[in-house]
């Protein structure tokens, strides 16, 4: 299924692994330091039903206005140590990143009806193309440009591929299971 959705997201439980979503509205950026900071100090904005994007963007000021130059996803598994607590505390609907996340996050997605989606890694220019402006930014002074909490206005931001849904399915688990089987075959072949 293909979805074109507006934020905030009302119910993320309907999305299944393999679905593709395009987002119009707001996307909130948070990576390593931002997760830590928000969990420690609380969020300065409402995150319920939000789309949280693991991304450290290239942003530059042009004529006193922020201009998003590149904004592809960063590796999500680094946030595994924070994400379950983050989901339980702030109730975002969609986590966007790359590479997938682990068992702790999968459990939290199930418990709180959220999903994880993959955005093609490295596609910073494609993403910037769909970002229409900066609404606000938090913790810029302390965390710097790549780590700050940016709120981007987006139009048809995607393709976001659902790879972990709220029913406990993970495409990564499937791919890994299959790859592990292949690995064992290959290792046997090498041994011959």
């Amino acid at each position: 299924m293909e979805y074109h959705e507006k934020t905030p997201i009302q119910d993320a439980r309907k999305y299944k692994v393999g679905d593709v979503i395009y987002i119009t509205g707001e996307v909130i950026l948070a990576r390593d330091e931002a997760h830590k900071k928000l969990l420690e100090e609380g969020a300065p904005l409402d995150l319920k039903g939000s789309v949280i994007y693991h991304c450290g963007p290239v942003v530059a000021k042009k004529n006193d206005e922020w201009n998003v130059v590149a904004a592809g996803p960063t590796t999500s598994i680094r946030m595994e140590i924070f994400e379950d607590e983050f989901i339980a505390k702030f109730h975002p609907a969609i986590i966007v990143g790359k590479g997938g996340m682990g068992a702790r996050t999968l459990k939290a997605l199930k418990e709180h009806g959220a999903i994880y989606t993959a955005y093609t890694g490295g596609c910073g220019a494609l993403a910037a193309n769909r970002i229409k402006g900066v609404k606000e930014v938090h913790f810029l002074e302390e965390l710097g440009i790549p780590e700050a909490v940016w709120v981007f206005r987006v139009e048809e931001f995607g393709p976001l591929v659902v790879t972990m849904d709220s029913q406990g399915n993970s495409l990564y688990d499937e791919v890994e299971k299959n790859a592990r089987k292949n690995l064992e075959e290959i290792l046997k072949q090498i041994e011959k």
Binding site: G18, V20, C55, G56, P57, V58, A60, V69, A70, A71, G72, T74, T75, I77, K98, G99, G100, A118, T120, G121, G122, C123, G124, A125, L126, A127, A128, N129, G144, I145, P146, P159, V161, T163, L171, Y172, E174, V175, E176, N178, A179, R180, N182, L183, E185, I186, L187, Q189, I190, E191
Partner: protein, 283 residues
């Protein structure tokens, strides 16, 4: 020469190297997994937008890295280092680049991609009076999937093959596949990783090592890696690596170092050639 280095950084960051574009297009044509095709399509679309609008192709504009290949009689030796550092500062502002130089103790970002020992400059000398600067900004996600294994020499080439394939399996989707894998064998812990990095990035995709048994190992590792089925971005598919390049050095009898460097699809690399008469050219 600063202008040309800034231009080479800009070209590297915004125009994907021709060998990589070609390899991605071939992979897209061949790929049988529909999920994988969406990922390769997004990458190719992204590359097109980046080139058209002079935008960095990836928001991680990398750790600014320079491999220098210099003739003993090159007359502008003294200017190289300061020119590179100045070019990085200017490129950071002009392109712009993401500031990617963070103090490991103070967590402070220098803001201009320079700092202690960065930009990283690797110097190599040879006969001649010209210099080539390889401009190779390197992404952090793929760099995290590097590996150094000090194997017991008894495991031989078989042991190396196993380790490389296990390493690619364990990396999964994290280094933004399809990747280019550089494999170093022999030397010591430091040399083996330098060999691997040069093999991964400086060698064009699709080329084979000049020695037959090394070329054969490359071909074999390439086939096996793509049989894993990890696919673009780890979502499954036929395209896990675009190529595997191997380089080796003689080893100490007691050691068998294996170095693995992973390069993401955003295989950014350009060259600045400087002749003895001061002519500068960006390739």
């Amino acid at each position: 020469m600063i202008d040309e280095i800034v231009y080479a950084i800009k070209k590297a960051e915004t125009q994907l190297s021709e060998d990589t574009v070609k390899a991605l297009k071939v992979a897209y044509e061949r790929e049988s997994n529909p999920m994988a095709r969406t990922q390769l399509e997004a990458i190719l679309k992204n590359v097109e937008i980046a080139e058209k609008h002079f935008l960095p192709m990836c928001q991680d504009t990398g750790l600014q890295t320079f491999f220098l290949d210099i003739g003993y009689d090159f007359p502008f030796m003294r200017e190289l280092k300061t020119a590179i550092i100045e070019a990085v500062r200017r490129a950071t502002k002009e392109i712009p680049l993401r500031p990617n130089a963070v103090h490991p103790f103070l967590h402070k970002n220098s803001g201009d991609n320079t700092g202690r020992f960065v930009p990283y400059i690797h110097w190599e000398l040879r006969e001649g009076d010209d210099a080539v600067i390889h401009v190779i900004p390197k992404g952090g996600g793929s760099e995290n999937m590097s590996g150094l294994y000090m194997l017991p020499p008894g495991v031989g080439i078989k042991g190396i093959k196993k380790k490389v394939i296990e390493h690619i399996f364990n990396s999964g989707g994290k280094p933004c596949p399809p990747t280019i894998i550089g494999v170093g064998i022999g030397g010591g812990a430091d040399l083996v990783l330098t060999l691997a990095k040069k093999a991964a990035i400086l060698r064009p995709i699709g080329t084979r090592h000049e020695e037959e048994f090394v070329a054969q190992l490359e071909e074999e590792l390439y086939e096996m890696a793509n049989k894993l089925g990890i696919g673009p971005m780890g979502l499954g598919g036929d395209t896990t690596v675009l190529d595997v390049h191997v380089e080796y050095a003689h080893r100490h009898p007691a050691t068998l170092p294996l170095g693995i460097v992973t390069q993401c699809w955003a295989n950014r690399k350009r060259k600045v050639r400087i002749s003895a008469d001061g002519k500068v050219e960006v390739v």
